[in-house]
Symmetry: C2
Subunit: 398 residues, 2 copies
């Protein structure tokens, strides 16, 4: 009897949770599970804004995959996916001469920055999207601050954050926390530093309750953050940004958080996408591909026909992974599958270490310390799902 | 009766020691002493190679001037000297509208990098010469290492150190110590890093005993350092260095330690100089200027007519400051002055935290741990001279 091969691409929230589920629910020999990821570690995307500002070390935002995956149950291959062939059912990796074949493919390759065609953004801006990229943002910013002592140019200590969505606001919150320490380190008067948040949409944190949005923006403005809302960036240069209307903001550090799109590999595989993301069916399958499942930022899930899709979050990716871990077992055993339903448990956006805003359940608003505590609980819960209480104790920050 | 005005420019080893001496030996009202320095702190030049490599924090290489100078005895002005007028006996500062007048002037303005006309060096290389400059070297290097994760270009983790004199070798020694930690931080295999030391002269550490030179180079080669001795740098570009003969070494970080020259302000004052340094008389006076004393890196002291001048070191600057602190008091009181004599107590060059080579007294050689301990004792002695045992306890690293 042939053992089915399940191949999982990407160890983000979705892929890692699928692998954990299969590891737990499959009996030995029931399927051969392989997980491919380009790094030896999973990174906790919801915390990347912290090392990007330097308020915590990047090691707090990653964990070794082999600390949560059992190598006897799941084969782990550290490599980069270069292409997917849906005809031959094979996946090509960068460093392996032989492609990997699959019976079931789970794609959780995450997202890439969406620049909306803004000129110069890809070349000149930084992106909060991986351990490598946030470490580079921190180091770049610190290098610019160190140069200020000799060159005294204001743009060296000006930081422009493009996008006032979730990541943008959380990052600005961390920057506000970091600046006093950073200014002491480089002998710079705090009031010389400029943090500028630029957003094309008419509001900060779209989708959030207006009371909470006011709380967040009042807090950040109070700390000196400048907001340019309803103001698209026309161009990003190596000297800063040019706003629509012509105003130039000179800044040595520009960080773009304005949006994400699906991974190009999915598009290139001939799977139908919208901005690189795949509108999946009730079982999270790609249209026309019974054996291909798409989860996380590469997938699009609609609440109902006429509504906007759920935004790409760690929360939905985790739920998709949990669902798929069970559903694939059921499919292999009985040929049956359940239908995925997303349960929104609420959202919390941090504003630095001690402040946050959030909604719990459907409508319960939280602000300040309470919201900040809730954010920490959510992070600890993710560690618990992955590695139980021992991982919480080892990696959790209290 | 007119109280004489003593103006000290620069709070390096020489200037600070002069101020300390005057503070100690002068009776209240006997003279008006003013110390001008561009920073609020003195930096311990002999330790700057450590923060430049990142093996210690730059705060360990500086101390607040007001922690060692009593403001009732010595006026301290934090400002930058822009020019000296020897005719009107006035010194102009950057931020003060009125110039400062003096009866006696002590110039201890230190040195500037000597580039020997090497093209592109001033524009593209870094220099170990102040807290600001070494902090920038550290941050630049770390930023280049962080970029390696994304760009994988070998030149990002290649460091060229120009000059194999005292500072060059000490800096290379610190880099060797720092690399394992730096590579862990940025997920880089240690063997990928290149440290290249380039020296135009036919030997490393000119003036040092050949046994000690062998000990040092063997140790550093063993740690992977590449030496290009007898090899002048023809040009420094933004991509690295081009050696005489045409070989190019691509390196994102080039640090020049190949030599120093006197401060240009001394030259511009119309005082006779050789490469910006003033050949002083036995009382450390500038030729033709009875009331101007030059100490530290701006001064040239010859053992005798036909010998080479003493190299510019913290040791000679300290002795000059000690001498001048007493001699100025004697001059004011009795119109008499002693003659300066340099007592070479030995030299120790560190090779990272645990290794060093040195000569104590005239001929006693030290290597390894013993030499390293001696280096620490020398550093503690400087703190003791400045601020007694309390400063040793507060700032000393044991």
């Amino acid at each position: 009897m042939k053992v089915p091969k399940i191949l999982i691409l990407g160890a983000g929230y979705g892929g890692l949770m699928t692998a954990k589920g299969l590891q737990k629910h499959l009996r030995p020999g029931e399927a051969e599970v392989t997980l491919v990821n380009q790094n030896s570690y999973h990174y906790i995307t919801t915390k990347l804004h912290e090392p990007a500002a330097g308020t915590s070390h990047h090691d707090h935002a990653r964990l070794s995959i082999l600390s949560v995956i059992h190598p006897h149950r799941v084969n782990f291959i550290q490599d980069q996916v270069t292409s997917i062939n849906t005809e031959t059912k094979e996946v090509t990796l960068k460093d392996q001469s032989e492609p990997l074949s699959y019976d079931y493919l789970v794609i959780g390759l995450g997202s890439a920055p969406e620049t909306f065609g803004i000129k110069g953004l890809l070349e000149n801006a930084f992106f909060i999207r991986s351990i490598d990229s946030v470490r580079m943002i921190r180091e770049h910013m610190e290098y610019m601050f160190s140069r200020y002592a000799e060159e005294k140019k204001d743009e060296l200590i000006t930081i422009v954050v493009g996008g006032a969505g979730f990541t943008g606001i959380e990052y600005v919150g961390e920057l506000v926390d970091r600046m006093p320490e950073l200014c002491r380190e480089y002998d710079i008067p705090l009031e010389k530093v400029r943090i500028v948040n630029v957003e094309a949409a008419p509001t900060v944190l779209p989708g959030f309750d207006s009371d909470l949005v006011s709380y967040a923006t009042d807090y950040l403005k109070n700390k000196g953050v400048e907001f340019h809302i309803n103001t698209p960036i026309a161009e990003c240069t190596h000297e800063g940004v040019i706003l629509k209307g012509g105003e130039e903001i000179k800044a040595a550090t520009v960080v773009w958080t304005g949006g994400v799109r699906g991974n190009k590999i999915v598009e290139d595989a001939g799977i139908e996408t919208m901005r690189g993301r795949v509108k999946v069916d009730g079982q999270l399958r790609a249209p026309g591909h019974e054996e291909i499942f798409i989860i996380g930022d590469s997938s699009l899930v609609f609440p109902s026909e006429n509504e906007r899709p759920y935004p790409p979050t760690a929360q939905i990716a985790t739920q998709q992974g949990q669902f798929l871990g069970k559903n694939l077992v059921s499919l292999i055993r009985d040929g049956k599958m359940d239908t995925f339903a997303y349960h929104a448990k609420g959202t919390v956006a941090s504003l630095g270490r001690k402040e946050a805003i959030g909604i719990v359940g459907k409508n319960s608003k939280l602000m300040g310390m309470k919201a900040s505590l809730m954010k920490k609980i959510i992070e600890l819960r993710w560690l618990y799902l992955l590695g139980g209480i021992s991982l919480v104790l080892r990696k959790g920050k209290f």
